[in-house]
């Protein structure tokens, strides 16, 4: 037996781990309270920035289900964002549904699409799955762009403003914030249950998972549909907030990349990882673009930062926050050694 592991079993180590989890939970709790009262002080600019950040965090939480926990590198989740946006917009414009009902219709449409597409596509693995999802997202975007009679095509869809307009910023801030909390709660809830265990088993070894009685197709489709739920809700909120939906805007592949980046930066396969990663990513990019005198170099610098984070903490910053690794130079260098290709 390796001796290195013994420490983790000792009662002292266990209580230390519990203590650390409590501290982490306390910090996140304090942070959530801070965000809840922030609109009392924050400027309109920061409220809008944070609203976008929340939508990204929610999508990242969704991506975490399929990409982080189940281990399927989905590269087309923006399709769900776009379908959620169009579903919500079309329900409001054509069916005159109130916003919240329309939002549910949009999210349901995204989930339905995930199930229909997931059944065949989730049979693929690795690169093949990744490429198929990119292709699907691009395809749906094209349909939205050219099916002019239904989607308005290149002219887009214009939605009514939120009423009363003075409260608009607050409304969208809080609804996006609630969505993020819902995502955290949903993740925690699922990972305590059989569905969560089945995702982890599939990620670690799908054949063994199958043989142990897991209906892997069903588990994967549920993971995919729940990631569609989060992205679809984010898309619907974004549509109403933006009051304008255009295919080339809501099906941008950058959104997929952002949700993956946020998850990977924070820690894939962890409850808080995507939430924390979304903050790191979005605050960095906002600082670089708006506040630091770096001119056109902001994308380059962001890229550099991402490379450094990936090199030093390939499992995301949650590795350090949860105490699995200590934030020391030797631990950082160890990461390079163990993950070199």
């Amino acid at each position: 037996m390796k001796k290195s592991g013994e420490l983790q079993n000792s009662p002292q180590a266990a209580s230390k781990k519990v203590a650390r989890q409590k501290v982490l939970l306390g910090l996140v709790g304090a942070f959530v309270v801070l965000l809840a009262v922030l609109p009392l002080f924050a400027s309109g600019f920061w409220m809008r920035t944070l609203t976008l950040l929340f939508l990204l965090a929610a999508m990242a939480e969704g991506w975490n289900f399929i990409g982080g926990y189940t281990g399927y590198a989905a590269f087309g989740n923006v399709a769900f964002f776009g379908i959620g946006a169009y579903g919500t917009a079309l329900s409001m414009l054509r069916l005159h549904f109130p916003f919240f009902l329309a939002l549910l219709v949009g999210a349901a449409a995204a989930m339905l699409f995930a199930v229909l597409v997931g059944l065949p596509v989730l049979r693929l693995k690795g690169h093949y799955f990744a490429i198929a999802t990119v292709a699907l997202a691009t395809g749906v975007g094209e349909v939205a762009d050219f099916w002019t009679d239904f989607t308005g095509g290149a002219a887009g869809l214009t939605l009514p403003f939120f009423h009363p307009i003075q409260l608009s910023n607050y409304f969208f801030y809080y609804i996006a914030f609630v969505l993020v909390l819902f995502g955290l709660g949903l993740t925690y809830f699922i990972m305590k249950r059989k569905l969560g265990y089945s995702w982890l088993a599939i990620r670690e070894d799908e054949d063994a998972a199958k043989m142990m009685g897991i209906n892997t197709t069903w588990s994967k489709v549920v993971a995919f549909a729940l990631s569609a739920l989060m992205a679809g809700l984010a898309g619907g909120i974004y549509a109403y907030w933006n009051t304008f939906v255009l295919a080339e805007e809501v099906f941008k592949i950058e959104y997929t990349l952002q949700m993956i980046l946020a998850t990977v930066l924070g820690g894939p396969g962890t409850v808080f990882g995507p939430f924390i990663g979304a903050f790191i990513y979005y605050i960095l990019i906002t600082l670089l673009v708006f506040f630091l005198p770096v001119g056109q170099l902001h994308a380059t610098i962001l890229g550099l930062i991402i490379i450094l984070v990936m090199v030093f903490t390939p499992q995301g910053v949650m590795d350090f926050l949860s105490g699995r690794k200590r934030l020391t130079l030797s631990a950082l260098l160890e990461n390079i050694r163990t993950h070199k290709v």
Binding site: M1, D205, M211, M212, G213, I214, N215
Partner: protein, 259 residues
């Protein structure tokens, strides 16, 4: 021994392209026995097990478990019905603890539907005590040695509470003390009421724990019978060790007739 047949294959055949990896195999497994499945490398043992557990679909033939035709069932349904297996190349869930690895079996296996997550974790503790790995329950699977990984495979399968258990080379790579321990474990599992099919190259284990042996060569049945009969069968020795060895053995026997 009880002669009730718990599991049966009829003419199971699996082609890979034009090659018959398993060809027309009829096998009966009796309730309560330990059946050994042996054969030289490439004889089709693992493919046979893959074909009858739903990992692969048979090209032809039928698989019957407790009177029910389960031919072509997906692996997860076979698993839930009460058949478990281990893999020759161990398949631990590396990112999960030992306890969670085993709990997956208790959650989704034979009686998984009746259990909550908490009950499955308790069942996992029980199984880990049985295989004497209780002290490792909170370790991550990637911290285990090969001997413990093999035993983890066993624990995961046992947590499914199977009636029939296929063990695919659980002793390969173990040292002789570990092999003794594994043999003891197999007897203990069998004594608890589980029927076993064990694929093994370690002849000491085959001779020591099995009640009956089935030999596969080039995908077809070569012989079956008691371990003594089969392990002394010239055809089996030839399949394993070649024509020359059989010749030499015959000459040695002639040189020193019945003592």
């Amino acid at each position: 021994m009880n002669q009730e047949v718990i599991f049966e294959t009829q003419g199971i055949t699996k082609y890979f392209g034009g090659l018959a990896a398993v060809d027309n195999v009829d096998m009966k497994i009796h309730k309560g026995e330990i059946l050994g499945l042996i054969g030289p490398n490439g004889a089709g043992k693992t493919t046979f097990v893959n074909t009858i557990t739903g990992m692969l679909r048979p090209t032809r033939g039928r698989v019957i478990f407790k009177g029910q035709d389960i031919t072509g069932w997906p692996a997860y349904r076979v698993g839930r019905l009460g058949i478990a297996r281990t893999f020759q190349i161990v398949k631990p869930f590396l990112g999960m603890t030992v306890r969670e690895n085993v709990a997956v079996g208790a959650m989704f296996g034979h009686k998984g539907k009746t259990r909550t997550t908490r009950q499955a974790l308790e069942k996992a503790d029980e199984v880990l005590e049985f295989v004497e790995m209780g002290h490792l329950r909170n370790h991550f699977a990637d911290q285990l040695t090969l001997a413990y990984l093999k035993r983890l495979e066993l624990a995961k399968a046992l947590a499914m509470e199977p009636e029939l258990l296929f063990l695919d080379e659980v002793m390969a790579g173990l040292n002789s003390r570990e092999i003794e321990e594994a043999m003891e474990m197999i007897r203990k599992i069998n004594a608890s009421g589980v029927t076993l099919l064990i694929i093994e190259h370690v002849m000491k284990a085959i001779a020591g724990v099995t009640h009956r042996v089935f030999v596969l060569n080039f995908g077809t049945e070569l012989a079956q019978g008691s371990p003594e009969e089969v392990l002394n069968d010239p055809r089996v020795i030839q399949a394993y060790l070649g024509e020359k060895f059989v010749e030499r053995q015959r000459r040695m026997q002639q040189a020193s007739p019945q003592q």
